[in-house]
């Protein structure tokens, strides 16, 4: 038994294959990382997590475990930054590396803004008298989506505007209202879809009782199972649609030097791919996961274009020093989706 030690090698090989198979304007990407580094990062996380469990669950030294937890939470923005840096530094294209030069400080600021805005939002909501139901509902829907869009926009800018290809910087220019528009549209479509699903559900339960003569309890079971299934399908559909629309928005607003990108993803189609992927996963008990993943990625990447006339102008910054792998592995280990 390798006890998962070799999964670092497997991870690198999978990523190498994915990047090497991604061609942009005739050239493919390169993924360069020594698996031993990933292993090191993992070992650190396991030790940290092990210490935490040891202190809290076995030795009962709660104070020590709280200290560890505080250290972890405080370093989380830094860890996320490290993860992003690592993700970009390991990729190269035409033998020129990508780089990320975002500052930890900006991550702390963004999280501070997010927390304080959320608190303010909650405060205002609670201060408003209950009689103003309409205002409260409108505030919840519009205010929350707008807040989310604002934070999302700032996060994407923080990431993309600090990415370099060689010496050339990426530049993202989006407006909060563009992001909010996508979220609003999705929320509206989702509400409509839910109403339709409910109507269909009622229709099915009535016809089960009248045509198939099932008892109320049997109908309940059928509807519960169908409901859970459709809920999953619905969620994954919405997830795909949002991903498609947001990806298009970002691709259409980003430039590398003077060269532009273009995203022509059919977001409804992406939603359907994401939906059918869930069915594929259910019926294969998860074994067709690679097929589902590639199917989704392919649709996204094949509809991304990069309009660059002259590829020869990008120059390396000559720093090929590898950054620490700690961040990436932490973020992977704790399953935090940084969603780039």
């Amino acid at each position: 038994m390798s006890l998962g030690v070799y999964s670092a090698w497997a991870k690198v090989r999978t990523n190498r294959y994915l990047f090497a198979s991604t061609f942009l304007n005739g050239s493919n990407f390169e993924y360069n990382i020594d698996p031993k580094k990933i292993l090191l990062g993992r070992a650190f996380i396991v030790i940290f997590y092990g210490l935490f469990m040891l202190f809290s669950n076995i030795l009962g030294l709660n104070i020590l475990s709280y200290i560890l937890l505080t250290i972890f939470l405080l370093s989380l923005p830094w860890l996320i930054k490290q993860a992003i840096k690592f993700k970009f530094k390991t990729i190269s294209y035409r033998n020129i590396r990508f780089d990320y030069r975002g500052e930890s400080r900006d991550f702390y600021i963004l999280i501070f803004i997010f927390i304080s805005l959320s608190l303010m939002f909650g405060l205002i909501y609670n201060i408003l008298p209950i009689e103003y139901t309409l205002i409260r509902v409108v505030m919840v829907i519009f205010g929350f989506i707008y807040l989310l869009s604002f934070i999302y926009k700032r996060f994407k800018e923080l990431i993309i505007n600090n990415v370099y290809y060689g010496k050339t910087q990426f530049n993202l220019n989006i407006e909060t209202k563009d992001v909010a528009k996508i979220f609003f549209k999705t929320a509206l479509a989702a509400t409509l879809l839910i109403i339709i699903l409910f109507t269909v559900g009622i229709f099915i339960s009535i016809s089960l009782q009248t045509i198939f003569h099932l008892s109320v309890s049997e109908v309940k079971v059928v509807i519960n199972i169908l409901g859970a299934l459709f809920y999953m399908l619905f969620l994954s559909f919405i997830k795909g649609v949002v991903d498609g629309s947001i990806s298009n928005l970002i691709r259409n607003s980003v430039t590398l030097g003077t060269a532009k990108f273009k995203g022509e993803i059919d977001s409804i189609k992406l939603g359907f791919i994401s939906l059918t992927n869930i069915l594929i996963l259910i019926f294969s008990l998860g074994l067709l996961y690679p097929y589902a993943k590639i199917r989704y990625l392919k649709e996204k990447i094949e509809n991304t274009y990069f309009a660059c006339e002259n590829f020869d102008k990008f120059v390396s910054n000559n720093i090929n020093k590898d950054s620490g792998v700690l961040g990436e592995e932490t973020v992977d280990f704790f399953d935090i989706d940084i969603g780039i």
Binding site: E30, R94, N95, I96, Y165, V221, I278, L281, N318
Partner: protein, 328 residues
């Protein structure tokens, strides 16, 4: 031996189409006047149909799309290559590992989970069992249980009946519940909670039906079923989560539920068999026990929660249990 490659110098993103020359100990790119020892270059292992990368010591790189030709050249000059591509591109290896993985998962979910849960449950200290039981009982008392309506005499008679099979290590607690109805629970530290509604279903004057129920709960305690099921379920959920990754956690919910329900059914069956055997040893008919299940079945049916599919039930179906205890 020459082969056409794309050359990148690592300083700019410019691409050059050049011929490179391999010989036994040298690697040359004439156009750029590069001559290096063959030991100093790094050739990436073949990976699907993706272009292979030759890494030069100065940071420049070549990419080769014609993998077969490169393989031939490398073989001819005696360059040592990793076997990994041959393994990866073999259908036999792929299907073979898939079969191994599937069998391994099945093994982990069955014998592996069995062994681990039994092993861990056996080494758990008594203190832990007492702690878990106490916490569960407090919670149940707060949320679901009320005081028992039974008279002291009835309680005494139930206890007397139980003493045919159990000793001082077990303790019977009497409760009633509006929501849980006719039911009984085994706490891992040896306490058995029995609800009034269940006792009232017993036709036998000597509480022989209840004795069957208590024997069933005793089997749960003796074999540490509740702890084992806890461990087994965590194993099943972690395995399902691990093999299917995060996004499909929802998608594998149903299979996970089926697995945990199956574990539970197995333990219930085991406890039923124990109860039947104990009653037989004491020459007590199991029909009183069957009668209790019949009554439960009637009530459940009238309430209308009968039609949960068999593979999602945590207990064997009540008609099956009635049949099991009716057969002698």
């Amino acid at each position: 031996m020459k082969i056409l490659v794309k050359f990148y110098d690592g300083k700019s993103s410019k691409e050059h189409m050049v011929f490179v020359k391999f010989s036994k100990d040298r690697f040359e790119i004439e156009d750029f006047n590069i001559k290096v020892d063959i030991k100093d270059i790094e050739i990436s292992s073949r990976l699907g149909s993706t272009p292979r990368v030759i890494q030069l010591p100065d940071g420049s790189r070549c990419k080769i799309s014609d993998n077969n030709k490169l393989d031939r050249i490398l073989r001819d000059i005696g360059y040592k290559q990793s076997l990994i591509h041959q393994i990866e591109s073999s259908w036999r290896f792929a299907v073979g590992s898939l079969v191994i993985v599937i069998f391994f998962i099945i093994f982990m979910l069955t014998a592996g989970a069995d062994y681990t849960s039994k092993f861990l449950a056996d080494i758990l200290p008594k203190d832990t069992l007492v702690y878990i039981s106490q916490k569960s009982l407090e919670e149940l008392d707060k949320e679901y249980f009320q005081k028992s309506r039974l008279s002291d005499d009835e309680k005494r008679r139930v206890k007397k009946s139980f003493h045919l099979i159990g000793d001082y290590r077990y303790q019977i607690l009497f409760r009633s519940s509006k929501t849980l109805g006719a039911n009984a629970f085994a706490l891992p530290d040896g306490r058995i909670v029995i609800l009034d509604d269940l006792i009232e279903l017993d036709r036998s004057k000597n509480y022989y039906g209840v004795l069957g129920i208590l024997a069933h709960e005793k089997a749960h305690i003796d074999n540490r079923h509740s702890i084992r099921i806890l461990i087994k379920n965590s194993i099943a959920i972690s395995i399902m989560g691990y093999i299917t990754d995060d996004i499909s956690l929802l998608a594998t919910m149903l299979p996970s539920l089926m697995i945990t329900a199956k574990y539970s059914r197995e333990f219930e069956k085991e406890a039923d068999i124990y109860a039947k055997n104990r009653l037989k040893e004491l020459n007590i008919s199991t029909k009183y026990l069957a009668y209790i299940f019949k009554e439960i079945d009637k009530r459940v049916e009238s309430k209308g929660v009968k039609s949960v599919p068999a593979w999602l039930l945590t207990h064997p179906s009540t008609p099956d249990r009635i049949k099991f205890f009716m057969d002698n």
